[in-house]
C-alpha cells in the first residue's frame, strides 16, 4: 500500500507499485486532465507537480511518490477561481488541439511558483520539455510572460492576488 497526497487529499494506492503515476492517476483516481503522449518522459503531456516540482509522470513509478504531495491540473483552479496562468491561456487564445496544455500549464505554474518574474530565457529553459505539436509556443510564452509581468506590477504596486487574477482574465 502506497500513500500520498493527491490534490490536497490523502489517498492510498494498493495496486502494482511499479505502475507509472500517470496511469494510476488517470485510471484509478479517474483524473483525466493529465495526458499520455510518449510513455518515455519526452513530451511533457503527463506533467504533474510532485512536491511542487514539475515532473514527468509517465515514467515515474507510484512507489517513488510514497509520502509525497501530488498536484494535477484539476487542482490548479481554487474555489472556482482560475489560476492566473489559466486566465492568461484563455485571454491569449493559447490552445489549439489542447492535448498538451495541461502539461504546459503545470510546467509553467511550477516555474512561476519558483520564479514569479521569469524572463523569456527562463521560460525557454523551463518549458523546453513540453512539446506542442500544434506549435502554440509563441502564445504559451506570451501568456506566461503576461503573468510574470503582472507579478512585477504586483511587486511594484502591492496589488493583492485576487486583483492580479482579475487583470489576468481581462
Amino acid at each position: 500500500m502506497i500513500e500520498f497526497v493527491l490534490n490536497g487529499t490523502a489517498v492510498q494506492f494498493d495496486d502494482d507499485p511499479s505502475m507509472p503515476l500517470l496511469w494510476a492517476i488517470r485510471d484509478q483516481f479517474k483524473l483525466k486532465g493529465s495526458k499520455f503522449g510518449c510513455g518515455a518522459g519526452l513530451c511533457g503531456a503527463c506533467t504533474m507537480h510532485v512536491d511542487g516540482k514539475a515532473t514527468r509522470t509517465c515514467v515515474l513509478p507510484v512507489s517513488a511518490v510514497a509520502g509525497k504531495t501530488i498536484r494535477t491540473i484539476e487542482d490548479l483552479s481554487k474555489d472556482g477561481q482560475l489560476h492566473p496562468l489559466q486566465s492568461a491561456w484563455v485571454a491569449h487564445n493559447v490552445p489549439q488541439c489542447g492535448y498538451c496544455q495541461s502539461g504546459q500549464i503545470m510546467s509553467a505554474a511550477a516555474l512561476l511558483a519558483d520564479n514569479p518574474q521569469a524572463s523569456s530565457a527562463d521560460i525557454d529553459a523551463a518549458m523546453e520539455g513540453n512539446l506542442c505539436r500544434c506549435g502554440c509556443y509563441p502564445r504559451i510564452k506570451e501568456a506566461i510572460l503576461s503573468v510574470a509581468q503582472l507579478s512585477y506590477d504586483a511587486t511594484d504596486t502591492a496589488i493583492t492576488s485576487p486583483n492580479v487574477q482579475e487583470e489576468a482574465s481581462s
Partner: protein, 733 residues
C-alpha cells in the same frame, strides 16, 4: 432515448424535414442514408434543423458538423451560424455532431474534416440556416406578441420589441408550429457583429483546465484495454505466435489475433503494452522488407531519369518556351517520408450492447468510423452512435481509421467494452506517412523575368489510395459490406498504382501564371502506407517550386521578389500578397549575421508569402522570426486565423529542420520523440502574421501556412552560407 413525448416528436420530425433540405452539395450516388438525427433533445428542445437546438430556458446548442482538432472549427462555424441567428458563439453550447447525412461536408459529399475547407464550404449554408431560424423565431414572436414582425428585431439571443426584450426560448413552442422560411435574407458584411471580431475560442477554457475530453479520456465501466503488436514491415501477417509468456503476465485477460496483428487485452494499457513486448511473433516477409531509405531515394532518382513520366497538367508550347528563354535552370529537390505524430496517439473505445454500439474517439470522419464499425460488427448503422470527442491533433492522421477496425475486431472477440490505444512507438512505426518525393524542375526565363517554360516532374508514392479505401464506408454507406470490402481492397491497389493522383502533384505550377508548362508524374510505390499530411502535396511541392524560383532569379540576375511579382500578374490576389510581403522585407533591418529568405505559395484557395529571418552558427540553422503575409478572404475570427498560420509555421519548421522517417529493412527506424524530434520552445521563432482582406468569402487557414516555410528558410540559408540545400530536412554540409 427515453421519455419521448409528443411535443418533442413533433419538433424532431419537423427538424428532420427541414434539416434534410438545407445543405446542398455534391452527393455521390448511393450516398444517402437516413435515420434519426444524433441529437438528444431536451424535453422542451426545439430542433429546427440538424444544427441547432433551442430550449425554453434559452439555451442554444450548435451541433458542429466538422471535427475539432485544434483548427478552431467549432468556434469558426459557431460564429458563422451565430452571426445570422444573432447569438454570440461564446454563449452557445457548441458540441460535436454525430454521424448523419445532414452534416455532410457540401464539397466532399460526406462528413470529412480536411482540406482546410470547413469554414469555406459551410460559410453560406450555415449563415442561411442561422438566418432562416432567426426569421422563424421572429415570426413566432410576432404571432405570440401580436406585433407586426417589422417592429421586432433581435439582439444576441433575444427578440427586441420596443423597450421590451424576450429570450428566443419564449417563442420556441410557437416556432415549432410554423413553416421554416427557406431563403431569409442574409446580412450585408457591414452589419457583421461576430464575423471578423476577435474573442477567445469556445474551447479555450476547457482546454486550459484539463476538462476538455479527448478520445483517450473515455472511461466505460468494465472496459478492458487493448494494445496491438503489429508487423515491423507494414502489411506483413504473423506466421507463428508464441504468447505463452505474455499470457502469464499480470493483468493480461486475453490475446486475440486481429487483421492488423496480435491484440493483447489487459486490465490496463500499461500492462497490455508490457505484455505486447513479451510476445514472440514471426512475421511473413514482404517485398518492402528489402527496402531502406537509400533504396527509396535511388529508386526515385532512377524514375526521374528514366523518362518524362505521365503528363498531369500542361498548357502552351514547352519547346517554344525553352527556345524563347535567355536563361535556363534545372534542379532536383527531395522530401522524405514524414509521420504526423499528433500528441494524442490514436485510440478508440467501443461498447457493444445487444443490437447497438457506442464509439468514443476523435476522428476526421465520423461516417467512416460508423461505417467501419458497421462492417465489422454487422450492426445496423443507425444503431451505432459515434461520440467524437476533441482530437488531440489531426494533421491528416485521423482521416484513416485502421484503429477503428482494430477496436471493433477486439470488441467482437472479447465481448466486453474495449479501449484501444496506440503507443507512441506504434504511432511512429505503424501509421501512414507523407510520401517521400523527388521533384525535378527545369525552367526558362526571358530577359525581363517572364518564365517562358516550366517543366516539373515528381516521382513518389500516391497519397490517396490507402485513405480512400478506408473512407469508402463513409462515401457509400448503403453499399453492402462484402461488396465494400472487395472494393476497398481493390481500390487501394488501383489508387496506389494510379499514374497521376492529383494530390501527389498539387502545387507544382498553380501559384504562378505560366504560359508554357508541363507537370508530369511517375508513381513509385514501395508499399509503405501513405496518407494526407498537413498541406498534402503542397508540403513538398512548395519546397521545390519556391527554391527553384530563387535559383531561377539568381540565374537571371533578377530580385527574388521581382521574379515572383512578374509571374503572378495573371493572379492578382497572389500578386498582392507577394507585393505586400516584398515591401515588408525591403523595410526589415536585421542584425549582423542574420539573413532573410522569401517564399510564397498558394494552397487550399489561400495565398501566403513568408519571410524567414535565419542565421547559421556552428553549422546550425536558427530561425529567429517568420513574417507571414496571407490573404484568407474574410477572416471569421482573425485571432484564430493568426494562430493557425503561426502553427503552420511551427509544424513546417519541425519538418524543415528535423523531420525524417527512415526505413531499414522495410521497417520505420524512428520510434519516439528522441529520434523523431518535434520543435521545442527554445527553437520556436517569433511569428508575425499580416492578413490582407481581399473581401472574398473565407478560404483555407489550417494548411496554407505550411508550404512556404521550408523554402523561405532554405532561401535564407543560401544567403547566409552560399549553400543551396535541395533536400529536406535542411542539413548543412
Amino acid at each position: 432515448m427515453t421519455g419521448l413525448n409528443l411535443s418533442r416528436r413533433k419538433f424532431l420530425k419537423r427538424g428532420a424535414v427541414v434539416g434534410g433540405g438545407l445543405i446542398v452539395g455534391m452527393q455521390l450516388p448511393g450516398c444517402s442514408f437516413s435515420g434519426p438525427l444524433p441529437i438528444d433533445s431536451a424535453d422542451d428542445g426545439f430542433v429546427p434543423n440538424a444544427f441547432l437546438q433551442i430550449t425554453a430556458d434559452n439555451s442554444v446548442t450548435f451541433y458542429c458538423p466538422s471535427d475539432e482538432m485544434g483548427q478552431g472549427v467549432r468556434t469558426g462555424l459557431a460564429t458563422i451560424i451565430g452571426e445570422e441567428l444573432d447569438v454570440h458563439p461564446a454563449v452557445m453550447n457548441v458540441v460535436s455532431a454525430g454521424s448523419h447525412e445532414d452534416y455532410n461536408n457540401p464539397e466532399f459529399g460526406f462528413q470529412l474534416t480536411g482540406g482546410s475547407n470547413a469554414v469555406r464550404v459551410f460559410y453560406l449554408p450555415l449563415r442561411q440556416t442561422g438566418a432562416n431560424t432567426r426569421a422563424l423565431l421572429l415570426a413566432a414572436a410576432a404571432q405570440d406578441l401580436g406585433v407586426p414582425v417589422e417592429q421586432l428585431s433581435t439582439d444576441n439571443g433575444e427578440i427586441v420589441a420596443g423597450d421590451a426584450r424576450y429570450p428566443y426560448g419564449d417563442f420556441v413552442a410557437t416556432a415549432a408550429t410554423l413553416a421554416m422560411p427557406e431563403q431569409a435574407p442574409l446580412k450585408p458584411a457591414s452589419e457583421f457583429r461576430y464575423i471578423g471580431s476577435e474573442f477567445s475560442r469556445v474551447d479555450a477554457l476547457a482546454k486550459s483546465t484539463g476538462s476538455a475530453q479527448f478520445g483517450i479520456d473515455a472511461d466505460i465501466e468494465g472496459m478492458v484495454y487493448a494494445v496491438v503488436a503489429r508487423a515491423p514491415v507494414a502489411g506483413a501477417k504473423p506466421l507463428s505466435v508464441d504468447d505463452s509468456k505474455a499470457r502469464s503476465m499480470l493483468g493480461v485477460i486475453d490475446i486475440v489475433p486481429i487483421s492488423s496483428g496480435i491484440a493483447v487485452v489487459a486490465d490496463s494499457y500499461w500492462r497490455g503494452n508490457n505484455a505486447v513486448k513479451a510476445l514472440e511473433i514471426e512475421w511473413e516477409s514482404l517485398p518492402l522488407a528489402q527496402v531502406d531509405s537509400k533504396q527509396v531515394r535511388a529508386d526515385l532518382s532512377a524514375a526521374i531519369q528514366a523518362d518524362k513520366g505521365t503528363e498531369a497538367a500542361a498548357e502552351g508550347d514547352l519547346e517554344a518556351g525553352f527556345m524563347g528563354a535567355i536563361h535556363q535552370h534545372e534542379s532536383e529537390y527531395f522530401a522524405p517520408f514524414l509521420a504526423h505524430a499528433p500528441l494524442e496517439p490514436v485510440n478508440a473505445t467501443l461498447h457493444i450492447q445487444g443490437d447497438r454500439a457506442d464509439l468514443w474517439t476523435g476522428v476526421q470522419s465520423v461516417q467512416a468510423a460508423q461505417g467501419l464499425v458497421e462492417r465489422i460488427t454487422g450492426l445496423d448503422r443507425g444503431n451505432i452512435r459515434i461520440h467524437n470527442l476533441y482530437l488531440g491533433g489531426g494533421f491528416g492522421r485521423r482521416g484513416t481509421l485502421t484503429h477503428i477496425v482494430e477496436v471493433a475486431e477486439v470488441a467482437m472477440a472479447v465481448k466486453r467494452p474495449v479501449q484501444l490505444l496506440w503507443s507512441r512507438e506504434d504511432d511512429l512505426q505503424h501509421g501512414l506517412y507523407r510520401p517521400a518525393s523527388l521533384m525535378k524542375i527545369r525552367a526558362g526565363v526571358d530577359g525581363s523575368g517572364n518564365i517562358t517554360a516550366w517543366q516539373a516532374h515528381r516521382a513518389g508514392g500516391n497519397i490517396t489510395g490507402d485513405t480512400m479505401s478506408n473512407l469508402l464506408p463513409a462515401m457509400f454507406p448503403s453499399m453492402p459490406s462484402p461488396i465494400l470490402e472487395t472494393l476497398a481492397s481493390s481500390l487501394g491497389y488501383v489508387f496506389a498504382n494510379w499514374s497521376v493522383d492529383p494530390s501527389s502533384v498539387e502545387g507544382l505550377h498553380e501559384s504562378y501564371s505560366l504560359t508554357n508548362y508541363q507537370v508530369a508524374h511517375t508513381t513509385v510505390d514501395h508499399g509503405l502506407p501513405l496518407t494526407f499530411w498537413r498541406s498534402v502535396g503542397h508540403s513538398y511541392t512548395g519546397f521545390a517550386v519556391e527554391s527553384m524560383m530563387d535559383e531561377l532569379a539568381e540565374q537571371a540576375g533578377i530580385d527574388p521578389v521581382a521574379i515572383r511579382l512578374k509571374n503572378t500578374e495573371g493572379n492578382p490576389r497572389m500578386h498582392e500578397v507577394i507585393r505586400r510581403a516584398g515591401e515588408l522585407m525591403a523595410d526589415m533591418e536585421v542584425p549582423e549575421g542574420h539573413h532573410l529568405g522569401f517564399a510564397a505559395h498558394s494552397s487550399f484557395a489561400t495565398d501566403v508569402a513568408q519571410i524567414a529571418e535565419v542565421s547559421v552558427e556552428d553549422n546550425r540553422i536558427k530561425v529567429h522570426k517568420v513574417t507571414c503575409v496571407a490573404d484568407v478572404g474574410t477572416a471569421v475570427n482573425p485571432d484564430i486565423v493568426r494562430a493557425q498560420l503561426e502553427g503552420g509555421v511551427m509544424f513546417a519548421l519541425t519538418a524543415a529542420l528535423h523531420g525524417e522517417i527512415d526505413l531499414k529493412d522495410g521497417a520505420v527506424v524512428q520510434s519516439n520523440f528522441h529520434n523523431y524530434p518535434i520543435l521545442r520552445m527554445n527553437e520556436a521563432p517569433a511569428v508575425e502574421v499580416v492578413l490582407i482582406d481581399s473581401g472574398t468569402a473565407p478560404t483555407g487557414v489550417g494548411e496554407p501556412g505550411v508550404p512556404p516555410l521550408a523554402p523561405a528558410v532554405a532561401n535564407g540559408v543560401y544567403r547566409a552560407t552560399g549553400q543551396r540545400l535541395r533536400s529536406l530536412p535542411l542539413r548543412l554540409a
